[in-house]
């Protein structure tokens, strides 16, 4: 077996504030005149990666997991040569293709056909190669009817399919993929997974970052867990994911402070101050997983005695689709008076039947009529982690929609 990737002591330091692109040449010149020999002012810096080393062999499919900000994306960017390491070495044998985004460089005004050529060329394909694979790309994308239509008329799904179709026909030795499987419908997802399996079977090396732990587990033979810029664990995909999941337990991220939330509506006589996530026995919840029971405790503060307040919330997807709106009045429960002072009300959910992902709450408190708003559009987010909700060993992930029903299959033998 041949080494396709050798990474040694990779570190990357970012200067804080550097990425904000806010320096003025005018200021820099003034600074140079004032202190021509002085050092530039020392800025604070953070290490996004610290001494990361690993090798990869041909045909290995490696899943990289870790929390947001752990350094996964920085690692992929260095391997793709987009950014450069502060120290350390990367050696790649063969041609690298990186897919940090689907459809990079697509232009709205150009047709599907034109974008295939443009995108192919950006991804490093020769014109001749694109020509040879053109029919296969169009076929894979399933947009042949609209291939000569400017893509500004495409739906986001069509764009995505076209973008992935081009990428799937790259023939790199090492493929680097960042979180692109999290999107698209189930049929298309399946095609993507097949394309990646095809790569693996033909001896290509794939590095794959995803929050979708089920996909990582299905696709990858090996897992690397990155935590605070360092490799925390490197081993079989199953083991690494299991350890990674265990790390969430016992952590206290179990609520969000709402007192500082801005852009809220309403008169403010009574306001939400905090939302707590609890398990049934009242202990703080470390993480919210699909299918788990959950108690939401809404803390509020009332300036004065309030009569007939009505509490409730709307729950949205990350894309802003309303999933549900609820409130205690819908259950016929009246609260005659509250306050003045602090208090809370609780909502108990038997089973949180949301698929993993990021959701957003918009909390409200109104009077008896919904026209009297005391507090409104108080935004806070809810992160739902993957879980084995059907107790089958198969993780339910974001490919399966927005919600799932508590359910039982019955199979009758004939």
């Amino acid at each position: 077996m041949t080494r396709s990737l050798e990474i040694q002591g990779l570190s990357k330091r970012y200067r804080l504030g550097q990425a904000q692109h806010d320096q003025m040449l005018r200021e820099r010149l003034v600074e140079m005149i004032k202190r021509p020999w002085g050092n530039r002012k020392e800025t604070e810096s953070i290490w996004a990666l610290r001494d990361v080393s690993f090798d990869a062999d041909e045909g290995e499919v490696i899943g990289i997991v870790g929390r947001n900000g752990a350094g996964k994306s920085t690692l992929l960017k260095i391997l793709s040569r987009i950014t450069y390491p502060t120290s350390g070495k990367v050696k790649v044998n063969g041609r690298v293709a990186s897919l940090l985004e689907v459809g990079t460089g697509f232009h709205d005004e150009l047709t599907g056909r034109e974008n295939i050529y443009l995108n192919g060329s950006i991804l490093g394909m020769r014109k001749r190669e694109v020509e040879e694979r053109f029919d296969a790309i169009v076929d894979f994308s399933g947009v042949e009817q609209f291939i000569d239509t400017p893509i500004k008329h495409y739906s986001s799904g069509m764009r995505l399919r076209l973008g992935f179709a081009v990428a799937a026909h790259l023939e790199p030795d090492v493929l680097i993929v960042d979180e692109v499987l999290a999107v698209g419908d189930a049929g298309f997802q399946k095609k993507c997974v097949q394309a990646m399996e095809g790569l693996r079977n033909s001896g290509r090396t794939v590095l794959f970052v995803s929050h979708n732990l089920a996909a990582v587990e299905n696709l990858c033979s090996r897992g690397i867990w990155i935590d605070s810029g360092k490799i925390r664990m490197d081993g079989g995909a199953k083991d690494v994911i299991a350890s990674y999941m265990r790390s969430f337990v016992g952590e206290r991220v179990s609520g969000s402070d709402l007192s500082g939330t801005e852009n809220r509506l309403g008169s403010g006589e009574i306001r939400y101050t905090r939302l707590e996530y609890l398990s049934r026995d009242g202990t703080p919840c470390a993480m919210t997983r699909s299918g788990d029971p959950l108690v939401l405790r809404f803390h509020y503060h009332a300036e004065r005695l309030m009569r007939d307040p009505s509490f409730g919330f709307r729950l949205f997807t990350e894309m802003g689709t309303l999933i549900t709106e609820t409130g205690h009045l819908l259950h016929g429960i009246h609260i005659p008076k509250v306050g003045p002072g602090d208090g809370y009300i609780e909502l108990e959910i038997d089973s949180l039947n949301l698929v993993p992902g990021q959701y957003s709450f918009s909390l409200w408190i109104t009077g008896q009529s919904s026209r009297t708003v005391y507090d409104g559009d108080v935004r806070t987010s809810l992160e739902v982690e993957v879980a084995d909700v059907y107790k089958s060993g198969r993780m339910l992930d974001s490919r399966y929609g927005l919600v799932y029903f508590p359910q039982r299959w019955r199979v009758t033998r004939t």
Binding site: Y14, A19, H21, S80, I82, T104, L110, Y117
Partner: protein, 257 residues
Amino acid sequence: MIRELWAYRELVYFLAWRDVKVRYKQTVLGVLWAVIQPFFTMVIFTLLFGQLAKIPTDGIPGPIFYFSALVPWIYFSSTVTNAGMSLVANSGLLTKIYFPRIILPAAAALSGLVDFLISSVLLVGFIFYYKTPLGWNLLLWPVLVVLLMLLALSLGAFFAALNVKYRDIKYALPFFIQLLLFATPIIYPASMIPERFQWLLALNPLSAVVEAFRYVVVPNRTVDWNVLGISVAITGVLFVAGVAYFRSTEKAMADLV
């Protein structure tokens, strides 16, 4: 670096092709736009500077005098602007995929060439209309085009790299270009500048190029080969310096943009 650029030559072509295609698709007038802009500028210059201000044109018909300089000038100014903005405008590409970054300003320099060629065709029309005889100096034209491209690319690449780092470049750039319009013999002939200030004109590499573009289409004009030589030398220095500065900032670009 050269070998890598050669490997990516198709990307330069595709990005330039995209720019051209999008530019003509987005406007109602499309390709005509490449002609309208220099044509009306020429008309205004002829009326304002020729008829009203009576600035001499060295005995060349006004339209040819202005137009022959406007065609390279418009190419130069739009290329420096577009190349200067190219990295920031394509930040989506810069942060998602690797390619030699110089490709972006290079593609801008290439795509501007299409407009340049279209308006050059119009210039040929004027030459026939005014029955200006053509001479062997026409052979200098392709050399001048290359020189003009290199000059525009050097400054464009320099500003592009600077623009990634400093935010005020995008305000300074139009101002710089406006100043250069007056520092270059476009609305006036180089011969109008007193002898003792001619050296100042020679310091601007663009002035010799623009004057030479006039020389190419008007055979009985003379060109100062020394000044053109200085211009070639300055362009060479600017090119090396511009590309070197660009290369030195290249590694940090994706982190800054």
